[in-house]
């Protein structure tokens, strides 16, 4: 869905990091984890997931290692220590943000400030 893809834009990096939390994955497996983990809502063109992974690797948040599978060269990615810290921080921020939005949308009274 286009609106989902738009909404995903600002959160793609952290979602990609989250797909690597349980261990290394190659690009296609990352894309599949994103699709399956979102119940099919975040189904990006596979080819555009790779550039994002390269950008995260350039930033030192993930690291790629090469292996050979069925005669093909395969690059798998894992979270680095910096990536784990980034994921933990972004997760905490998201929880606070989501709690505030839920409070607003569901009409829960604001906590008293005095």
């Amino acid at each position: 869905m286009r609106s989902d893809a738009q909404a995903l834009k600002g959160h793609l990096d952290v979602l990609l990091l989250a797909t690597l939390e349980d261990g290394p994955r190659h690009g296609y497996a990352v894309k599949e984890a994103l699709r399956e983990g979102s119940g099919g809502r975040f189904d990006l063109p596979t080819g555009t997931v790779y550039p994002a992974l390269h950008r995260l690797a350039d930033a030192g948040l993930i690291a790629g290692t090469w292996s050979v599978t069925d005669g093909r060269r395969r690059r798998s990615y894992r979270l680095t220590a910096a990536g784990k810290r980034k994921l933990a921080g972004e997760r905490a921020n998201w929880r606070e943000f989501a709690a505030a939005v839920t409070t607003l949308l569901e009409g829960v009274p604001w906590p008293a400030t005095s």
């Binding site: 063109p45 596979t46 555009t48 550039p51 093909r72």
Partner: protein, 190 residues
């Protein structure tokens, strides 16, 4: 079931436009997608068409790599911060009466020429629409490192007397040196 001519054609389309390692990675992903469709029971042609469609058009994928390349992003960062660093140095040179510094004319001309070349190269890399053009950023980075090192070395060696804009210009150049050197080291490793 190893491959299909549609997949070969797709890879043949992106191969001249991306680094070999990246093409290998895309080949693995595309083949994996194709095999998954085959295992799900699709015939070879339908599986290949579905895999290629899932991957996205070659132009879209190449454009995404170019847009997110370290060269293009670094060039954009340097272009956006360049005027501020340049302003700090202009203020430093003007306040320090740089035209009186004992610097040979040839060095002055070479510095100005390098500056203009670096700006042009950064502009090309920052607006790159092809992978090859993003590589110009490394050349621009080398020039920028030389420029920043020359300016800081000139201040240290010539001791022109303290002027307050130096407090901004020297740290700005050192920070840019570190940023650019990091990019160059990563570009060399990749």
């Amino acid at each position: 079931m190893a491959s299909h001519q549609l997949i070969d054609a797709y890879l043949g389309s992106v191969a001249p436009r991306l680094p070999a390692d990246t093409v290998d990675e895309l080949a693995d992903g595309l083949t994996e997608t194709y095999r998954r469709h085959r295992r799900a029971g699709l015939d070879a042609d339908t599986a290949a068409r579905s895999a290629v469609r899932e991957f996205g058009a070659p132009d879209l994928v190449v454009a995404a790599f170019v847009r997110q390349s370290a060269g293009r992003r670094t060039a954009r960062a340097l272009m956006s911060t360049g005027p501020l660093v340049g302003l700090c140095w202009a203020a430093t040179l003007a306040a320090g009466h740089a035209w009186r510094w004992p610097v040979p004319v040839l060095v002055r001309i070479a510095t100005a020429a390098t500056l203009l070349t670096v700006i042009a190269a950064l502009a090309l890399a920052a607006t790159a629409r092809t992978w090859r053009r993003t590589r110009i950023a490394a050349l621009a980075g080398l020039g920028l490192v030389a420029l920043d090192a020359t300016l800081v070395a000139a201040v240290v060696a010539l001791r022109p007397g303290f002027v307050w804009p130096m407090v901004l210009a020297v740290p700005a150049s050192l920070a840019r040196l570190a940023f650019t050197a990091r990019f160059l080291l990563r570009a060399r490793a990749s």
